[in-house]
Every structure is written in C-alpha cells, then in structure tokens.
C-alpha cells in the first residue's frame, strides 16, 4: 500500500490493526461506518437485482418471465430491502457515522459500544431478512397492509416483520447516538451556528428516527401477534379496523422518507458550498428548514390514505398539512441555487452528483404537490405516478446525495483519490439512466397503470420498455463507482488531508484520520464555510495534523 510514500506511513484508523477481531469488535465510529458501508452495499445490490428482475418482467404485457407470486415477492423484497436495509441506514449509518464526530470535533460518538451494537442489530435484522428471502420470502408489498398480511398471505410475514423490527432498533440507536453527540461532544468553540449543515440535517433525521421508528416497531409487533394469534386488532371479521394499521404504519413510514432525504440534503449542502467556494446562502434558514421538515413530516401521514376510506375532513386536514411540509423543502432548493450566485464553481464529480440531486429532487418534490392535491391524488394514487414520484425522491434524491457524498469524502475515508474521469462519467450515466427509467412512469401513472401489476394491458408497453431500458443503464451507472472505488483502494493516488481545500473540521485532520480523529483537540475559532479565508491569497496556515 502506498509504497511510493517516502515517509513511514502514519498510523491511522485503517492500518492500526489488521485482525478480524479489531474490525468486528471495534468501537471506532469510522470502522463501524465501514462495516455499515460493506453491509448496505451488499443489500443495495440485492435490492437492485430484484429491481432488475421486476423491470425485465415488465418488458412485455403478459406475465412470462416469472410466476405471479414470484413477481409479488420480488417487489416486496425490493421495497423492504431497499427501504429498511439500504436507504434508511445509507447516509446516516455510513457517512453520518464517519463524519458526525469528525465534524463536531469529537474523538468518537458519545456511545461507541451502542454504535457497535447498532451495527450488530442491523446485521441480525439483515440476516433474518436474508433467511426469509431464501426460505420463501414475503408477498405483502413492503407496506404489510392488513388484513392481507395478517390473515390471507401464506408467506413468511412474521419473519420479515421481526427482521424489520430488529433493524429498526439499529436505526433508533444511531439516531440517539447522533443527538447526544451533537449536544454534548462538540469541540470548544463549535457553537450551533458554526455547525456544518450536514450536522443539522442529521440532527433532524435523528429526531425522526427516535420518535418515529418505535411506532413502526410496535405496529409490527401487533401485526405479528395478530397473525400468530388472530386477536382481531386489524381483522374486520373480528371487529378490528384495517385502516388503523395504515395510520400507525404511515405515522412512521412517511417521516421515514425524510430519514432518507434529509441526510442527503445535508450532503448536497456541503458539496455545493465547497465546490462553489461559498458560504451557504441563508445558513440559518437551511438549518431551520431541516428541523421544520422533521417536525412537519410527522403531521402528514394520512396523505397516503386519501382513497383508503378515511373521512373527508381528515383528508382535508392532511392535505393542507402536506403542503406545509413542502415549503421548507422549497426553501432549501432556493437557498442552494442562490449559493451558486457569484460563486466560483468547480465541476468535480461530487458537484455533478449534487447538480443531479438538485434537478431530480426538484422534480420529485414538485410531483409530490400533485399527490398532496386531493383531486389529483384520487386518480394517480397507487399508480406508477406514485412509483415515479418516490423514486425521484429516494433514488434521484437520496441515492444521488449518497453517491455524491461518497465521492466527496472518499479521499477522507480511504486516504486515496478515485479516478475523476470515470466518476464524472458515472454521474452522467446515473443521471441519464435514472430519468429514462422513471420519467416514463409518470406518464404511465397518469394513463392509469396501477402499481404492483405483474401483467398489464398492451397499451402501456412502449413506456414500460423505455423504463426497462433506462434501468439497465442505471444499473451500469451504479456498478461503475463500486468498481473504481475498489480499484482506488489499491491503485489510487494518496489523498492529502484536504484535497478539495474544503471547510469543516473533518478536513483538518489527516486522510485517513487517526483512531481518535484529531492529534490535538481542535478549538474552533472560525465560522462554518469560511471559504474566504481558505481561498485568501495569503491564506493563513490552518493547522493540518501531520
């Protein structure tokens, strides 16, 4: 490794110890982040494989590639794996875990052992999920709607429910660790208004993880109990109300969308600031809009139920509240755009991903207005319009942000530079592939093609073919970073402590950082995003460790 380095290699968190136990029993947040990185990448490609099979099946109107029940299991497992085992842990558990202590200037998260426990919970949940997939899988859709899941499906609902239950506690513990760390572990001088907006985004995310996740946990307990014992809580034959499940489920699962998108917004904020060399426009508004999204996110859940049989009055209340949550998202987009004004914009790969995020998130967000609009939602609810919308948010938004962040911080994480040309190409391919996959689905949805259909009327075929073609391009786009990141670990050029000349404490230590992050306890005397100082012609020497 890095033999051309003339000096003896610094001891860092990666080369400190090579034994397996030093990884599996580590309490170092950076190593745990890498454990998460490995595991969520694994689940991402599993989920992606299911997606590919789904798209192939939909190439033709008839059901010919797989059986109907197999198809139902495919989209169920795609959803459950992607939502609970990739998207929710993606940015918080990998980038957040790695960066939150570094950014606030702490040696580690507040509870390192709980952090490790959280990874093990995730792995136990993941193993249960894999076992469930391999031994028969589930066909309820990721939403587990009752009474289908409790009384009619004859697949492994209980096992999948428990897997998600366990993984949920992993998410809760991560959020708990972040909040305590952000409150209690900030370096001297690191005031709240000097925090990077990435931290604010993770703070907001953690609020949702802490207050939302337990509700889905108890809901899954009820589903499992109902299915095992036929209690009647969700079974109309026994006097239960199936809609109660939907209320409880969406109380978590709508805010869960913000668990996925808020950290991504945080990443994009950092990238835009760094590559336009500017302090973010309206720092306090961007910070507060994160908190506002977390809070309003809890008030809108029944917009998933406008045609489910809720009362008209409830629908009105939830519709108007849904518009309220759209405002802070819009505020963020405007502030990002304004940050570019009079900037000095560089087009490195992370910035390309950030631009991709801006475009796709804007479209995803605006189509959310269609769904929050009662009159239109009646028509497009549960059609491909919804599928397209949430993929624009979760894939176009969250995954774009995740990839952008991985590129931005990869030199810090691995100490190596990735090949810039390939990275820009991958960003382009992902953007094109994504739009080709999901834009036709908006049209399909308005035409009326319902979701979760394994065969469909022939007039929908052309758009489905386009979508499948896009999916293959998107798949290639996702494989590329995997390949060149792995390549760079061995052959990449060594990265300096601050290859982007970026602001933020994480760049003031070595790449990769030492085990306790900083050789000297940092004392913060500057504001966030101090690019004027960093780019000043006679720039004052920032103390770079080593």
């Amino acid at each position: 490794m890095a033999t051309e380095n003339p000096q003896p290699e610094r001891v860092n968190y990666l080369n400190k110890d090579y034994s397996l136990a030093s990884w599996l029993l580590t309490t170092d947040h950076k190593r745990i982040a890498l454990l998460y990185l490995l595991s969520i990448t694994f689940f991402f490609f599993i989920g992606g494989f299911f997606a590919l099979l789904i798209r192939l099946e939909l190439l033709t109107p008839a059901g010919d590639l797989v059986q109907a029940d197999t198809y139902n299991k495919l989209f169920t497992m795609h959803g459950q794996v992607m939502v609970f085992f990739f998207l929710i842990p993606s940015i918080p558990a990998v980038l957040g875990n790695f960066l939150v202590p570094l950014m606030v200037g702490a040696k580690d998260l507040a509870f390192p052992r709980i952090n490790l426990l959280s990874w093990y919970l995730y792995i136990i949940g993941g193993a249960m999920m894999l076992h469930c997939i391999l031994t028969g899988s589930v066909d309820t859709g990721w939403t587990f709607y009752t009474p289908f899941s409790t009384a009619f499906s004859n697949t492994k609902v209980i096992e999948a429910g428990l897997a998600i239950f366990v993984a949920g506690f992993s998410s809760i513990l991560t959020g708990l660790n972040f909040i305590v760390t952000i409150h209690r572990m900030r370096a001297p001088g690191m005031t709240w208004s000097r925090l990077p907006l990435f931290i604010w985004a993770h703070y907001a995310t953690s609020i949702i993880q802490i207050l939302g996740t337990p509700v889905i946990a108890i809901t899954l307990v009820l589903v499992v109990a109902e299915r095992a014992l036929h209690l009647g809580i969700f079974d109309p034959k026994l006097g239960g109300d199936p809609l109660l499940f939907q209320h409880l489920f969406w109380f978590y699962s709508h805010p869960a969308v913000y668990i996925m998108i808020l950290p991504s917004m945080g990443v994009v904020t950092e990238i835009i600031a760094c590559f336009s060399r500017k302090r973010i426009f309206g720092y306090h508004f961007v910070a507060l809009s994160s908190i506002a999204i977390a809070v309003f996110g809890f008030l809108v859940w029944a917009h998933h139920m406008f045609v489910a049989g809720i009362s008209v009055y409830a629908a009105l209340v939830f519709s108007i509240l849904s518009y309220a949550v759209a405002v802070p998202s819009a505020v963020k987009v405007f502030n990002w755009t304004a940050t570019l004004y009079k900037g000095s914009i560089h087009y490195d790969a992370p910035m390309l991903y950030a631009f991709g995020f801006l475009g796709l998130f804007t479209m995803g967000g605006l189509t959310g207005l269609f769904l929050a609009c009662l009159g239109v939602d009646v028509h497009v609810h549960d059609t491909y319009f919804v599928i397209a919308h949430f993929h624009y948010i979760m894939v176009g938004g969250a995954v774009m942000g995740y990839l952008g962040g991985m590129h931005f911080w990869w030199p810090k994480i691995s100490g190596k530079l990735y090949p810039e040309g390939w990275a820009r190409l991958a960003a382009l391919i992902v953007f094109i592939g994504f739009n080709l996959t999901f834009f036709p689905q908006f049209i399909l949805g308005y035409l009326g093609m319902p979701r979760r259909y394994y065969q469909y009327p022939p007039e929908f075929q052309v758009l489905n073919v386009l979508s499948t073609a896009g999916a293959t391009i998107l798949g290639v786009g996702y494989l590329l970073p995997l390949i060149y990141f792995l390549w760079s670990m061995r052959y990449g050029k060594p990265a300096s402590g601050n290859p982007w000349n970026a602001a933020g404490l994480e760049w003031k230590t070595a790449s990769p950082p030492p085990t306790f992050n900083f050789d000297e306890e940092p004392v913060v005397t500057w504001e966030a995003y101090n690019f004027d100082e960093l780019d000043a012609p006679h720039k004052q020497e920032v103390p770079v460790a080593g």
């Binding site: 405002v327 900037g343 631009f355 804007t362």
Partner: protein, 337 residues
C-alpha cells in the same frame, strides 16, 4: 405503434374534465417553477464557473428573499389545495338520486349487482349521462376500484361500505383496475366498464333480471324472520324500518347517528353496537349467517322503504325517541366508526 403509445388517458366521465383541468394547472405551475429553477441553475452554473484569479464573493443571505420564497410557494400551494379539495369533495359526495350498484370485491374478481337486480362479474354496464353510485365492500382483503377513464378511485374495505360515484359521458369500454395490492392475482383483477347509450342500456337492462335487488332483500327479510320484530305498524319489538334511511337515529346510549348504508349494515351484522333507543337488545347478530350479497340486498330493501329519499328532509328523527334518551343527544364525542 401509436395505438400502443397513448400520452393522455381517455376522458369519459363528468369528473374527468375537472381532474384534468386541475392536473394541467399543476403541470403548468410546477413546469414554471422547474423552468425558473433550472434556468437560474444553468445560468449561474455557466456564469459563475471557476476562473483563475476570480474569487467567490461571500454572501451571508437575505431575509427578504427568504421570506419571499417561503411565502410565495405557500400561497401557491394553498391555491392548489383549495382547488384540489373542491374536486375531491365533489367526488366524495354522491348525488342523492343516483342509480345504485352494489359492488362486492373478492380475491380476485369484482361482483356487481344493480339495484334493478342484474348481476355481473368483472363487467359493469352503465348508461351514459346518468349518475351511478357504487356501494362497495370486500369479502376478504382491501381492494380498490379504479377506472382511469373516469379519474375515479376508491378503496374497497372489508367489514364496511365505502362509496363512490361517477357519471359516464361517453359510450365505450373502459378499464376497471384493482389498485390496492390484494394477493397473487392482483394484476388479474381487472374488468371493464361498458358505457352505453341510455336506450341501449334500457334494452340491456330488460333482459335477465331476477327482479330488483330490494325485492330479493324483501324475500330474505321474510325468510330470516326479520319481519316478525321489524313490523310496519310500529308495534313490533324492533324499530319500524320505514323511512329510516337517510335520517338521524337516536341511539340507546345517547348518541345520534345518521342512518346511512354503513349504519344499516352494522345493525345487521353487529346489532348491539348502535342500538336504537327505546328497544330491547334482543336482535341476534347475522354475522356469518348472511353473505355480503345478502347484506347488500337487505340494505337495498330497507332503503326502498324510505320513499321520500330524493327529497328527504334531514331533521326530524325517524325513530321515536323515548323521553329519557332524548335529553342526552349531546354526544360524548365518541362517534367512532
């Protein structure tokens, strides 16, 4: 090729135009916002690209701008909300004189029964230009009744009725989809809505009926012995059902509920839950004894006993309330369904 590549769904109901207008309005609004953001983005991206020796200018932010782009979207969103709410409200409020069709969904088929008695499976014949009200329930899991050409969708929930309505405007055959995932053959649970000219429809209706649904209901009513207690002369041990439908009913526990289809249904299947004031709790439950279709027939029969329902004046309680219960009509906020 282009037959297989439509870009806009067919428009065949009175509601479709409203939904489309709203949708187009949203397209324009969001198109303008997108255009604005993308133009500014591209302009900034090009104009402020990095140049050697040119430094970024640090700008802290602008409170007026922040307030503007908080308030303006909010106002626009509220306008969308109001329009959307109006369209939704219309779709949720069936006209009182609509023709009624009872829908029973099950894995994986639609069973439809006209008030006039015709039964259909996965097909529904309706006349153009007349309001049709669907009274729907499910035998097993949640389904959803979706006709894209009518821009109409409503989940069909087991254990209760949900209601939807439409007025078809254009003769033709349209897709009926189930949009709530309901198991293995979910995507096979599709049917067609056949809209006919009124004259053709009359001809279709005249064949193959077993008599109106309410007549079937009357037969069941007699067979099950309902008529021994629910006597028309008001002397029975159960309430007289004439004129009950569509009126508020004072319950034994002091609450008042509207006697809609869901209430009638619940009284058959769970008589104790919302018992009418002044009567003994002697009615047995018919849960498990009658099929969903028989419940529908019974409900249709009870409804047929309220002749004035077109001009029904909600107001006076249909059932005489004993003095004791009448004083307690103030509800305790527990009208939970």
């Amino acid at each position: 090729m282009l037959n297989n590549f439509p870009l806009w769904p067919e428009r065949a109901s009175s509601a479709a135009g409203n939904t489309d207008a709203l949708f187009i309005f949203l397209l324009i609004v969001s198109g303008l916002i997108t255009l604005l953001i993308f133009t500014v983005l591209v302009f900034f991206a090009v104009r402020f690209r990095h140049r050697r020796g040119v430094q970024a200018e640090q700008i802290e932010g602008s409170i007026p701008l922040e307030l503007a782009w908080t308030a303006i979207p909010f106002v626009v969103f509220m306008a969308i909300f109001v329009w959307g709410a109006i369209v939704y409200f219309q779709g949720r409020t069936p006209p009182r004189d609509a023709t009624e069709v009872y829908v029973v969904a099950k894995q994986w088929m639609w069973k439809l029964e006209h008030a006039e008695g015709q039964r259909e499976i996965n097909e529904l014949h309706v006349p153009a230009g007349r309001d049709v009200k669907l009274i729907m329930t499910s035998q097993d899991v949640i389904h959803s009744f979706f006709v894209p050409a009518f821009r109409m969708k409503q989940d069909v929930v087991p254990g209760r009725y949900t209601v939807a309505w439409f007025r078809a405007t254009k003769p033709g055959t349209y897709h009926l989809f189930c949009t709530q995932y309901c198991g293995t053959q979910h995507s096979g649970m599709i049917g067609s809505i056949i809209v006919m000219e009124p004259a053709q429809y009359e001809a279709w209706m005249s064949g193959g009926s077993t008599g109106p649904l309410s007549a079937t209901g009357e037969k069941i009513f007699a067979e099950l012995g309902c008529s021994t207690c629910h006597r028309m002369d008001g002397q029975g041990r159960g309430p007289n059902l004439q004129g009950v439908y569509g009126k508020p009913v004072a319950l034994a526990d002091g609450r008042t509920v509207m006697a809609d289809e869901n209430y009638l249904r619940e009284c058959i299947l769970d008589p104790g839950a919302k018992r009418v004031g002044g009567f003994q709790p002697i009615m047995p439950t018919f849960q498990g004894l009658v099929s969903e279709e028989q419940v529908n027939a019974l409900v249709a029969y009870v409804k047929s006993l309220s002749p004035s329902r077109q001009s029904g004046l909600p107001g006076a309680p249909a059932v005489v309330v004993p003095a004791k219960a009448a004083g307690k009509t103030a509800t305790k906020g527990s009208q939970v369904q």
